[in-house]
Structure formats: C-alpha cells, structure tokens
Symmetry: C2
Subunit: 166 residues, 2 copies
DNA sequence: TTAAACTTTCAAAATATTTTGAAAGTTTAA
DNA sequence: TTAAACTTTCAAAATATTTTGAAAGTTTAA
C-alpha cells in the first residue's frame, strides 16, 4: 500500500467510524487530515485536499475548535490562518470524552434522576421506576468511566486497565 | 410530574441520546417504550403509542431483534406477535457493547493495524505512522474496555470500577 | 385447500442533514 | 481611510436518511 492510498483509507475509515458514533463525517475527515499532516494547513489547502467548499471548511473548522481538537496558527508575514491538530492521541481522547460527557451524558443523568422520583402509585409507574433506576446506574457507570478517562494520565490509565481487565 | 409526562419525557430523552451516539431515533424510542412497558406489546399497540406506520414498526422491531435487545413472544390463542424487551439494564449494556464492538470497533482496529505497516520512507509517512500507532493504542483501549463490560458480571464490574475510579 | 389474519418488503414521499457559494463581514498593510 | 486579502454567515440546493403505505408474502385455523 502506498502512502497516498494509506492516507485515503485512513480519512475514509475514520469518517465512517465517526458517523457510526454520531460525529459528522466532514468533522472527522477534516480532523483526520490535520492529524496526519506534519505541518499546519491553510483553509485553501484543506478545501483542495478534501474537495469541500469554503463555507463547509469554515464551519467544520469552527466545530473542531469548539471541540478543542484543533487550533489556529498565524504565520509571520502571512494573512491566512493555518490550522493544526493536537497529535497526542491520549489528549485527543480525553478531550472528546470531556466534551461528550458535558454535552450528552450529564444532561441525561439529570433527567433520569428526576424521572426516578415520580409517584409509584400504579404497577406501570413501579415498572417505570425500576427501569429508570437501572438506567441511572448504567449511565452513571458510563459517566464515571468517561470521567476517569478525562482525569487520567496515560500511563496510570493503561496500567490500571491492564491490571483490572487483563 | 405525572406518569404520562414522565413516560413521554423518557422516550424523548432516550431518543435524543441515541441519535447523538449514532443510533436511530425510532430504534431508541421503540426500545424505550418496550423497556417501560410491564407487559409485551403487539405491533398495533406500538404503532398507536409511537404514532408510526406499520412498515416502520416492522423494520425497527427487526433491527432491535438483530441487536438482541428484544424478543418475539407468541401468546396462546392469538395470531399476533408480541414484543418484549430485556429489562436487566446491565444485560442490555453488555449486549449493546458487544454489538458495537463487533460491528464498529473491531473492523477499525484491523484497518489501523494494516495502516501502521506502510513503509516510512518520507517524513509524511513517518508522521502518519506515529498517528496510526497512537490511534491504534487508544482504539485498542476502547476495544478492551468494551470487552471488559461484555465479559463482566455486574457486581464484579461495579466493584472494580469503584476500586479503580473512586 | 382456502381465506382471514397477520408480517414484511420496497419504491416513492417526506423529512432531516449537509453542502454550496455568493454576499456580508473583518482584518491588516499601506 | 481604503482596498485587498482574507473569514464567516446563511438561504437555497443537494444529498442522505427516515417514513409511509400498498402490494406481496406468510402463517394458521377450519
């Protein structure tokens, strides 16, 4: 496999994995492109390489910055903005875990805790409460796992997992 | 909050969480409905409660069965099929982890391992290999975590996590 | 067998999401 | 200031996904 083939395979595979986990394809592909680029890229270069429009590039770059996965870089003597992705994949994973937890898990935990408190005056309501309690536990577990990933140092995390999940 | 309100809130919240994680809204909502229903439901009842068409109900029920989250039940003397969801949420989580790992993570692990092996004859290719190695580690970590969830007994899993991630 | 009572399939319609590109906005050098 | 070099915004277009419902298929009681 040549380098160019490998690059295309990677950008494509990464985009597919992302859509399966509810992240937009453009965002994943643009992130993939920056991840494997040794130097920062201008909007022009990104548009060219991924064959996307200026508007799309601009919006996707902003989303990636909101997620804290890429940064702007200004080069002396250049008017253009260049973009650069964090390359330490453990940092990337921690950042993604942090954002997803904040945006998606925490709100659900709160709703479930409210729903646990309805009066259990009918058999239906009792069953409902049982299910809410179960979900609350499992979602809480997911929440703690993400939180552990967020707080963890790479080596500590790996060693713990090797210990527990060998 | 009345029981009916709680029920609607739950079906809605669950649908939203699901779409954010790449699971279709109908699938999550139909699953939610069956989860909180004390007895199994016929296709008619499901169509009625969620206001969806017969075709949609039929397809979504099949998807849920493919995911191993619900089963058919035949009632003596009835021609209709009734559907019922596994209520043990830890079992549900294990099943979801198993399916997502099989469908989504394992294929990516394989692709990444291939991509790690391209010749590193240029600086670009070297950078590429570094990133692939990093991703391979992190995705491998996710893979192991899911696998641990799959293999785990509820109590053992909880106790391990309390120990490690307190 | 037949036909009633169901379920499934799938092309077309509806809906949701993503993408485009031109216009508006912003920044900076001179 | 001005105007060139950029970036952002957003309505419209393109595309992708989901949903519908009628037709086809299947099962079962008689």
């Amino acid at each position: 496999m040549t380098f160019e083939e490998a690059k295309d395979t990677f950008i494509h595979t990464w985009g597919t994995l992302a859509t399966q986990w509810g992240i937009s394809r453009s965002m994943a592909q643009l992130h993939a492109l920056l991840l494997i680029s040794p130097n920062s890229l201008s909007t022009e270069e990104i548009m060219e390489q991924l064959q996307i429009s200026r508007g799309n590039a601009s919006m996707t770059l902003r989303d990636l910055m909101d997620w804290g996965l890429i940064s702007k870089q200004l080069k002396p003597g250049e008017r253009k903005e260049f973009f650069w992705a964090e390359k330490d994949i453990w940092k990337v994973a921690r950042q993604v875990a942090k954002e997803r937890r904040r945006r998606e898990i925490t709100p659900v935990v709160e709703v479930l805790n409210e729903l646990k408190n309805i009066p259990t005056d009918t058999p239906e309501a009792q069953e409902f409460q049982r299910v809410m309690t179960g979900l609350s536990n499992v979602v809480g577990f997911a929440d703690s796992t993400l939180n552990a990933v967020i707080k963890a140092e790479e080596n500590w995390l790996m060693s713990q997992f090797i210990k527990v999940f060998r």
